[in-house]
Structure formats: C-alpha cells, structure tokens
C-alpha cells in the first residue's frame, strides 16, 4: 500500500466530543422539510402546458403542413436521423466509432407511413381521401416520388386559406389531398390520438408524436422564447424564473465552445468528455496529482482550522 499522505492516514487517537447522531438527523430533516415547504409556498413550481399537434397546426398551419411534407419527402430530421429510428444516415461519430449505428434501428420509424399514411388510413374515409389513399398505395415508388417532388417544388408558394392548405401544382397526384387532410386531422385533435394509439388502446409511448413535433419549428420557437435552446445554456434552464438542472452546467458548457459548438458530432463528443471526466472523478483516490491537490491547496486548513489552532496551542 502506498505511504503517500494522499492515501494513508493514521487512525485518530485524539480527543472525542459528544455527538448525538439521532438528534442531528432529526433536526436536519426538520430544517430541510421546513425550508422545502417555505420554498414551495413562496415560489411554487413551473408547469407550462404541453404542446399538442392540434395546437401546433392551429397556431402555425403552414409550419405543420411543411413538416408533414418533409416527413413524406424524407427531408425531416427524423427521416434523415439514422439509428435508432432508421438507417438513413450513419449518425454521429466518435473518432472511427459510430456507436448508434452499431446498435441499429431498434426503434424503427418510417416517417411516410407512421406520420402520414397510417394516420390517414385510420381516419373514417371520405370518398376523396379514400380515392387519394388508393391512388397512393397503388402507385409505384417512382410515381410516388414524382408526385412528392412536384408538390415539394411548388411548396414554397404554399398557402393556408379558409382552413385549407393549397399548393399551386397539378402534378402531385394524391399528395395535396393527403397533406390537406392530415392538416384537418391535426386541427381536429385526431392526429394527436392517432399517433399514440398505433400500437393499441393502452399506451404510454409518445415517441411518434414527440418526433413529429420536434421536426417542426413550432416547438423550438416556444423553447427559444423560454431560453431553453442549447445555445442559450438551455439544459440548465427551466421554464419561467425557476432554477433548472444547474448540476448540468459542465455538460452544457461544452456545447457553447469550439470545436463542439460547430461540430456535427457534438453530442457524442460531449458525452465522451463527460464520461471521461466522470471516470476521473470516480478514480480520484487512485490518480497521483489529482489526489494531491487537496493537500497542496491547503483548503483543508479552513475546514479543520479549530483542530490546527488547537494543535498550535
């Protein structure tokens, strides 16, 4: 065993003083409980209501329709994500390691069917929608791509008037009906339900609606107003004027500085750094230099000043 003073210490044989551990624990609990009750009474806690797809499509109909289109034409964040949702990209890399890709698409999401076609199919079919879905399902992949491309090309001139999404094209086959019906479905609240009940009556999995919401701009705009973006140190912020997860300060710090602030692999790089730092913290007792800082810094003299004063006397 090392003889270093940073490792060894002789058992204490000096004076003792009375110590009532039960009394100490009881008083501490009461003080903390009273402090907690006081803080809760005075400051309460934040509870900004959840955002629904109905709210999103009502407040920002064009953003919703453009997002629905991005799910259809494969340009949305989810469509291009990679693992664990699909194989569209390799995902982030830590040096030569593509950790997410190795584990594969274990939570498969097909943005075309999961976000657009399946919810529309679940709708009580109007003749127009039924015909559009039949046309879509009966078409070849290349035909579908041609329709979606035509709609995408004209989507810069998308309008929303009298509750209807319009795009100036006649070459998009059933896509205008599908996008417009999905918009109506969303505004009625039916899409919120359709996305969570695809796996049955009972569900507690909100992966699909959350991915869909996150693909649009609406959720991010609300977060920006609340100073919750990553670039706003949002990880340690909270809605309203409340303390958030302040203990994540170091984690969010890395995202603010180069090269991470501009890196396409920032998430996995920052996770790598935090794992390494956590390991160092864990192993401090065994790391020469790191374990000696307390002795060198002599901060301990503040902590044990009575002891050293008594020793000096």
């Amino acid at each position: 065993m090392s003889e270093s003073p940073d490792v060894k210490v002789a058992p204490w044989t000096g004076p003792q003083r009375p110590y009532d551990i039960i009394k100490e624990g009881t008083i501490a609990f009461l003080v903390v409980a009273i402090l907690t009750i006081g803080l809760a009474l005075v400051f309460s806690s934040p509870d900004d209501p959840q955002v629904t797809i109905q709210q999103w499509s009502t407040k920002a109909p064009i953003d919703f329709a453009q997002t629905a289109l991005s799910e259809l034409n494969g340009t949305s964040g989810t469509a291009q994500y990679g693992a664990p949702y699909n194989t569209a990209s390799a995902g982030q890399q830590l040096g030569p390691f593509t950790l997410a890709k190795w584990l594969g698409a274990t939570i498969p999401v097909n943005t075309v069917t999961d976000f657009v076609v399946d919810p529309l199919t679940d709708q009580p079919g109007t003749p127009t929608l039924s015909a559009a879905l039949a046309q879509w399902k009966g078409a070849s992949a290349s035909q579908r791509t041609a329709w979606v491309n035509a709609y995408t090309k004209a989507s810069g001139k998308m309008t929303f008037t009298n509750g209807t999404v319009s795009v100036p094209t006649t070459a998009a086959g059933p896509v205008p009906v599908m996008i417009n019906t999905l918009e109506q479905m969303a505004r009625s609240g039916a899409l919120d339900q359709a996305l969570v009940t695809q796996n049955g009556f009972y569900t507690s999995n909100f992966t699909l609606p959350l991915l869909f919401l996150a693909d649009g701009s609406y959720l991010g705009d609300l977060a920006q107003q609340r100073h919750l973006l990553g670039t706003q140190w949002g990880m340690m912020n909270e809605t309203g004027n409340y303390p958030g997860q302040a203990w994540l300060w170091l984690y969010t710090f890395w995202y603010q500085v180069p090269p991470f602030s501009t890196s396409a692999n920032a998430d996995v790089q920052v996770w790598g750094i935090m794992m390494l730092l956590s390991l160092l913290l864990l192993l401090v007792p065994f790391i020469p230099g790191l374990r000696s800082i307390p002795r060198w810094s002599r901060v301990y003299r503040l902590i044990w000043r009575d002891h050293y004063r008594a020793q000096g006397a």
Partner: protein, 207 residues
C-alpha cells in the same frame, strides 16, 4: 450439531463480520473525533434529509399518478415540494462532494466510500433527468426531444428511449431511486464503519 458447523454457516459468518465491522457504537455513535467541527459537515446530513423529503413527496405524487399535479392545487404543491427538495438535495450534495474532495476523504482505506458517493451523485443526475422528462408538460416535451440526440449518439437510445414516457417514468420511480437509495445506504454505512477522515498531519507536510 457442533459449534464448528455453526461457525461455518454463511449466516453466522456474515453476522460476525457485520458485528466486527459495524458494532453498535459505530452504527449509532455518541461521540465523534474533536476535529469534526465545521459547517462543511452539515451538508452530508442535509443531503440525506433532502433525499428523504424527495422520496416522501415522490410517494405522494405516486399515490395519485403522473397527471394529478396538473389538475389539483394540492398536487401542484406536492410537486413544488418535490422540485425544491431536489434543488436542496443537489445543492447540498455538490458542496458535500467538494468538501470531501478538499479533505481528501478517501484516505485511510476510504476509497470505496468516495466511489459509492460519486456513483450516487451520477445516479442522482440520471434520476432527476428521468423526472424532468416524466413531467407530462412542455418542459418534458422539450427536454426529451433535445436529450434524445445526446443519448442516441452514444447508442444508449436503443434501449433507453427518452421519448417513451412509460419507460422513463418507471426508471424514475422504481429503478433509479432504488439504486440511489441502496448506494446511499451503503455509503452511509461505510462512513459509520470507517469513521470521518482525520485531518492531514501538518508535521508530515512540513517535511
């Protein structure tokens, strides 16, 4: 039955071991070394007390279910207790951790005490995170959709889906608290068994 046979029993050996490592006067001491006299020592017991309030308020929230606090004034108050006790818990724990670092509290065969403390700290961060994504409000929507990218990038998203509310709630109210509480218990028992780390010997320092 011979006494040798009894002495060889696992139960007997465990009892002897526990009685040797953690006799009653260490488990529930009525004295402690004279050097344990600083405000910094308060933050260990404050962390434990805050953890108790976190768990108690969490129990009440669990009784009524995850949506209750959105529709009930009492529920919202209990949620506020939960939030503020968590803030006190982390505040105290971080000061406790830094205090122990500058005491080099791993000295004298106390490395495992340090390690269990750090693992408890990391487990607590994960527990708090799963609570934030289980709030069923805007906060949880935003935090989960942002955090998924970090967790997915490591590959952990394959089995730890932050967008799956049911899964996150289970981690928050069963798995992670269990680990945190057990580790805290082990940590406290280690402190009781080994005692509070003595000060550096200054004469040795001068050499």
């Amino acid at each position: 039955m011979s006494s040798t046979e009894i002495d060889r029993q696992w139960t007997t050996r465990l009892r002897h071991r526990v009685a040797h490592r953690l006799p009653p006067e260490k488990m529930l001491p009525d004295t402690q070394p004279a050097y344990v006299a600083s405000w910094i020592y308060v933050f260990g017991v404050t962390t434990l007390s805050a953890l108790a309030v976190v768990i108690l308020s969490g129990f009440i929230l669990a009784l009524k279910g995850p949506q209750w606090w959105h529709v009930s004034g009492v529920g919202h108050f209990v949620n506020s207790l939960h939030l503020w006790s968590v803030e006190i818990f982390f505040f105290s724990m971080v000061i406790h951790l830094w205090g122990k670092y500058f005491m080099a509290a791993w000295r004298g065969g106390r490395s495992l005490t340090w390690i269990t403390g750090v693992v408890t700290f990391l487990t607590s961060i994960a527990t708090a995170f799963t609570g934030y994504v289980s709030q069923t409000n805007f906060d949880s929507q935003w935090i989960s959709t942002q955090a998924k990218d970090g967790i997915n990038s490591t590959g952990a998203g394959s089995f730890f889906n932050v967008l799956n509310f049911g899964q996150m709630l289970m981690w928050h109210i069963v798995l992670l608290p269990l680990v945190a509480v057990v580790l805290t218990g082990v940590h406290v028992l280690m402190v009781r068994a080994k005692g509070v780390v003595p000060p550096f010997e200054e004469r040795e320092e001068a050499r």
